[in-house]
Symmetry: C2
Subunit: 489 residues, 2 copies
């Protein structure tokens, strides 16, 4: 569905082998920073609107990468924003003109990067559009606004460029890995980019420049539509929603089999966010199974076989609802219904009480991969990969949105806090989606997958996993980026 | 939102006190059968299209009630329908012209009652509309088609009458209680009715006649829109979806507290479908609490207080999605995605394995009401009542769709089989809805309500329950109908 071939007047692109063909990508790195003024030709001021996790990370990365050039990065905030103090603490100030009212910063910028929350974007995009100077480029970091405009019959302002650079990781990771990249060139979060409107022909280089400035080890091309779908589906499935459903259902399973709370937590949540995520990050998805002993593999195989089908069914359902606009419609309804009320948290569940003790025990011993948990998790991840492939997404998008973002950004963060904390502290669109879909995974696994895991494994399904083109695509993506254990405090 | 005042040229209506006013209703009974020819003036042939549970029940009740008149009831089936043999076994035959092709029966009838499955209705309503004779009346038993026409931009054919009579119970109950009504005049399932299009001014009497012929103890007025909303929300909430979520979550809770599977099943599923449903049916909702000892009441109060809020949130969410059309859109997407594939069942969950032993033990002793289970169930039911009241539904609709249909039709059926069997064997729209929303109740209760049940009860919430106008409305509705324990084999 998405052509991944593209050309740049500034950067040297590379060809990456992917299943069934190649994709054109840009390998990033600090050595490309001198090319940024050329990539941003015509852009004198970049306005980052919003100081949430992405705004906070991107504004700082952009400023640091553009230091010494005459391109200025400013932060625009809503009047009275509670984030102003933190922005000032990070060196964006009214005094030097790098902090201001969001509409004023918008009016003053050549590239306006919109990183405010989805609900704010839905409510205020028209004011922001009206404030744009002619010829300014709109920058997005996910496709939500496209979905919203479709759902409401709105449009991007004609004549303005519209580009997206979408880091495949949380804002915190975008900053932290960028910092690590000062030591290890190429450490960072991969990004996709999309050119949605290109009135002056400079959109591709601006987008690639933006991505390089964020520290992306590699940047691949997609469309805003494809990005929107994979982003919203991914967070409802393997990135957040499914993880929540998986660990809740496994915790209960281990508790019912006689485990005490701490052991059950270690075998479920701790296992996913720790050894399983780490193994996938370092050695790929197949290694999770291969590193098990024969008895463990047998357990993995039964869990994988029983989980893949129910997982695929739910991912397909999510995909249909996202592609149709139904899911976003639900978000709009929920925002309207909740109004100013706080969303209820999920962190009160008994399992989270065991988390602190589990984290305290980490130093004592290396936790081995739990074969059943691994089979369930890997099957769910593979189901998402297969659904995305069937729907025609580029392979770079598939592996980044289904595997790399999970194991290199979100799961390490969950490992440092816990899954419930992460869910209760991410974007409202993601939180609402996790509440809608996490329980679906939980119930389907408890009611369908786990009972079926008593049956012998499905050899055809396992052979398909073993020879899956995903492994090759993941290996190709891994070559473009140094292996860095992200530090999360 | 719905005016419940109406008049009839044939039947003597009554006024029923409800909170905040009165509603005009028709009390049914066998003594009204002689009025049917007058109510059906101009109708010589009634075509019942479809032989699912409702078609099977309604065709037989209508035929029995109209025996001795010159109004003939025929059944119309799709070519090659597997139901033809069963229809013949119940006396509808090609030979006497009471069984035929659905389009032929449609073309030949003055009142065409559409009781085919939702998906078939969505796919074939245009053919059926085209086959209608001029002046014929379309009869519906729920508002699905209205929702579908809205979602797809379709319309009812202009010039044709459109009425609905909606029994507040399963097809099996509609037939079984009608049979019991031969002994006990007035036993039956209450129905709502709606007049959506009335070109000849006879719609109200036709609808009331249809309802009397089905054996409805009382018939109240609604609109197709209000019926549609309460029907689809109700089955996703207290009638099916919430029941499933409640018993799954409680079973796990009791198992984790040390119960063996049989005891956990008795305290959760068996308790809801047995003693709790029976108490509500015989003595109302407040009696569930009042019949507990003081220690039991304290447990009930904590469970009620902790559950009401999360329950209300989910019911409000379901309501928004149904009213907006989003929920029906999801059903359409699911039908398209599933195609001819069977929907996965939920009956494989470990808890159902305990059901047979529990049912075998029934004769040994009377199971007492489990206070915690009762608090959870009653809070969920009250939350639905409150949400419907806030959205402006008539009280008759509220109590029938939230309480009476549950305790007098669905729960007794679940008691005879089990909840999973019921869910896996109801309409596809209901099954899809249960799969979507049951897990939401389960997860919210496990993660939010049950942990909060350790806290002291919320006295304001309990006072509101104690003085709830619902109790009065339920008592008024109960007076209109003899108390009959439905026999379910």
């Amino acid at each position: 569905m998405t052509s991944t071939t593209h050309t740049s007047a500034v950067f040297t692109l590379e060809t990456m082998d992917v299943p069934g063909g190649t994709e054109t990508i840009l390998r990033g790195g600090r050595h490309l920073l001198p090319l940024l003024p050329q990539a941003f030709a015509g852009v004198r001021r970049i306005g980052v609107i919003g100081w949430g996790p992405q705004g906070r990370a991107q504004a700082r990365n952009l400023r640091d990468s553009l230091a010494g050039t005459d391109i200025r990065v400013s932060v625009g905030l809503r009047p009275g924003s509670a984030s102003a103090a933190d922005a000032r603490a990070h060196g964006f100030t009214e005094e030097d003109g790098t902090l201001g009212d969001w509409l004023a910063v918008t009016a003053d910028s050549d590239l306006v990067i919109l990183l405010i929350a989805d609900a704010a974007l839905a409510a205020h995009h028209e004011e922001i559009f009206a404030a744009l100077r002619p010829g300014a480029t709109i920058g997005l970091s996910h496709g939500f606004l496209l979905g919203h405009l479709r759902a409401t019959g709105g449009e991007f302002p004609p004549g303005q460029g519209v580009i997206a650079v979408c880091p495949k990781g949380m804002g915190d990771s975008v900053r932290r890995l960028y910092e690590q990249g000062a030591e290890i060139n190429g450490a960072g979060i991969n990004s996709s980019y999309a050119v949605h409107a290109d009135p002056d022909g400079k959109a591709t280089d601006r987008a690639l420049g933006w991505s390089v400035a964020l520290g992306s080890p590699y940047t691949f091309r997609t469309t805003l539509e494809s990005e929107y779908r994979s982003d919203i589906v991914g967070e409802r499935a393997i990135l957040l929603g499914a993880v929540h459903g998986i660990v809740e259902s496994l915790y209960t399973r281990y508790r019912l089999s006689g485990d005490d709370p701490v052991t059950a937590y270690e075998r479920s949540c701790e296992n996913v966010t720790g050894p399983i995520a780490r193994t996938i990050s370092h050695a790929g998805l197949r290694a999770v199974r291969e590193e098990l002993d024969p008895a463990g593999r047998e357990v993995f195989d039964r869990a994988y076989s029983a989980t893949y089908g129910p997982a695929r069914e739910i991912v397909a359902e999510i995909y249909d609802e996202v592609a149709d606009g139904t899911e976003l419609r639900s978000v709009v309804l929920a925002e309207r219904r909740l109004g100013a009320r706080e969303m209820s948290g999920i962190g009160g569940s008994p399992m989270w009480a065991a988390g602190a003790e589990v984290r305290a025990r980490r130093a004592e011993r290396a936790l081995p991969v739990e074969p059943f948990t691994a089979g369930v998790f890997v099957a769910t991840m593979t189901a998402q990969v297969d659904e995305f492939a069937e729907r025609g997404h580029p392979w770079s998008e598939i592996v980044n949105e289904s595997v790399i973002e999970a194991v290199d950004s979100l799961l390490p963060y969950m490992h440092a806090r816990d899954v419930a904390y992460m869910v209760d502290n991410c974007s409202r669109t993601a939180r609402l989606g996790t509440r809608r879909w996490g329980p679906r995974f939980q119930a389907a696994y408890e009611q369908i997958a786990y009972p079926a895991s008593e049956l012998p494994p499905n050899e055809a399904l396992l052979a398909a996993f073993d020879t899956h083109p995903l492994h090759e695509a993941l290996a190709a993506a891994a070559k473009l980026r140094p292996s860095v254990d992200i530090s999360v405090v």
